[in-house]
Symmetry: C2
Subunit: 330 residues, 2 copies
């Protein structure tokens, strides 16, 4: 039996994640004002029945579409990530359920990661580690990053944080987004993503950080890699599906581009038989570029703040435009 | 027989370096106005006899002291590095020979390298490479660099470039130099190196970039490492002899500090039996942090500019105070 006053909150989390939540003072605060149902994927349909709110803490789970039929009175869905593609299925998109995301939590951390991999390429830090393993003292000349040209594909808050960080470190940046424009405060010039290939030849580094939408899926394909400089490095901190993975592998093999730093993949975990693991000049990390120590607390606190807003009728933060697939810029 | 008008320039270079010089338009320009003697270490004494100028292009060579007796009319010595310790022997210091160095060429490149290794530690990029080699998908949480405290020991132009770069990337910096002060444009606070141990406990990263002098030799010893945070990382882009190597190894073994990125060593090349090669959380590079593509040309051009100044009676750039052991700040 459900209390008249207490809203029902379903929380989708993995078995290994429940402790993050139940141990969190922010969630404990919510438990005093709501009936909270923690559930894994298998129990999601039951938990959604009569639930007012769904908090998708396990943000890589693909369980929501299959359980959606049980969401008989859901009003709001919050996801603990910046990308909302795991919950952007047609029934959700067409419903009246409000969708919010965790925009902002990861921005600066991802920007630091991108600068780190750019410097790792420029200074050949991975080459130094390989030589160190063999106890080989082999002097090399390395690249400057000052003045190098970077194209950041994706002009949301993460892309903007990357632009500010790389520019602060002496690089020259431009953006690519839905709409071409000049005078952007972070990017200066923004090219139209639809005309990406004609702009790619000018850049030393290309960073993918666009949201995954119908327009951006497979944006980085053979034609895009062919348009890049042979000396260019490709960095993906957005979504694996922005890339046609086979085309990327072929571009690396053929020398169409000089290297790639990949934090996201179209299949995660990256399968053990992927050739990417062992390709030279490829840096693999397991979808962690934004995950600084403390990120889980920060995510939970962001949800708790939004939950308080929802309870008190205050406008929610980070409301996603479900037609665009992301939170529009102000 | 030496022409009356043409000064004699001795150039100390390794066998594998002569091509850099003889192929350089800048050196070819000098050859039209001076008698140029390219020599390796074995021929240095002969080359110094009646030479007016010595250009130490092989800046790691220790050959100058042994040949110094032959320098019967030397007036100026230029070294193709920022550190002048290879030519700071007593007979040189006490002579009237003017000493200039290559200050400025490496500053920004070394600053990029330092930021790269800081980010490599914070984002565990070397850990990602180790896991990649094993095809292991293992998520970790990593550190932010924003707000982290860095002490830069050495307030010359390289230290200043490092300070500006790290601050631009969001870190908090302070310096350590001969004289404690506040309000420094690059460092804000500068501590006295003589009181280093009392300041070290406050810092997450400690960067050694001081010139090697009697005062700085062995500055980083067991007491200094004991004073650092157990989570601190030590970065040496100055000189290996700033560090008591055995004490550093012991500090890494015992956990007195959390890691080290080392570009310079008291013996170079680093001997194959050094335990540093295989210690966890130690990044080794072979004295290359400043050596960007094109650095050799830039070094030769700097010397050529100074040579032109010397020929025309214009004040030389980068005159070293031989008592201090470096070019004093303006």
């Amino acid at each position: 039996m459900i209390g008249k006053e207490k809203p029902v909150l379903a929380v989708l989390c993995g078995d290994d994640q429940a402790g993050d939540l139940t141990g969190s003072p922010a969630m404990q605060g919510i438990e005093s004002t709501a009936l909270v149902r923690y559930t894994g994927a298998a129990g999601l349909a039951d938990a959604l029945r009569d639930a007012d709110v769904l908090f998708v803490y396990d943000f890589l789970s693909r369980a929501v579409p299959d359980a959606w039929h049980a969401a008989n009175r859901l009003r709001w869905l919050h996801i603990a990530s910046a990308g909302v593609d795991p919950v952007m299925f047609p029934a959700m998109r067409d419903s009246d359920v409000v969708l919010t995301n965790s925009r902002g939590v990861f921005d600066d951390s991802i920007a630091e990661y991108v600068l780190g991999v750019v410097l790792s390429f420029a200074k050949d830090l991975h080459g130094s580690l390989d030589l160190q393993r063999e106890r080989r003292w082999q002097h090399r000349e390395t690249e400057r990053i000052a003045g190098r040209e970077v194209l950041i594909v994706g002009t949301g808050p993460i892309g903007r944080a990357i632009a500010r960080m790389l520019r602060a470190a002496g690089m020259r940046v431009a953006g690519a987004g839905r709409r071409a424009r000049t005078g952007d405060p972070d990017f200066g010039t923004v090219h139209a993503s639809a005309a990406l290939a004609e702009h790619l030849p000018a850049y030393d580094y290309v960073v993918a950080v666009a949201p995954l939408t119908e327009q951006t899926k497979g944006l980085f394909d053979a034609a895009a890699f062919a348009a890049m400089k042979p000396s260019a490095r490709f960095v993906n901190v957005g979504r694996g599906e922005l890339v046609v993975t086979g085309d990327l592998i072929e571009a690396l093999r053929s020398g169409a581009i000089a290297g790639a730093a990949l934090d996201v993949f179209d299949t995660e975990p990256l399968p053990a038989d992927s050739p990417l693991w062992t390709m030279p000049r490829v840096l693999i990390s397991p979808h962690m570029s934004g995950d600084f120590l403390g990120w889980r607390d920060t995510l939970i606190e962001l949800f708790a703040d939004n939950f308080h807003r929802w309870r008190t009728g205050t406008p929610l933060r980070n409301v996603v435009d479900k037609q665009l697939g992301y939170v529009p810029s102000e």
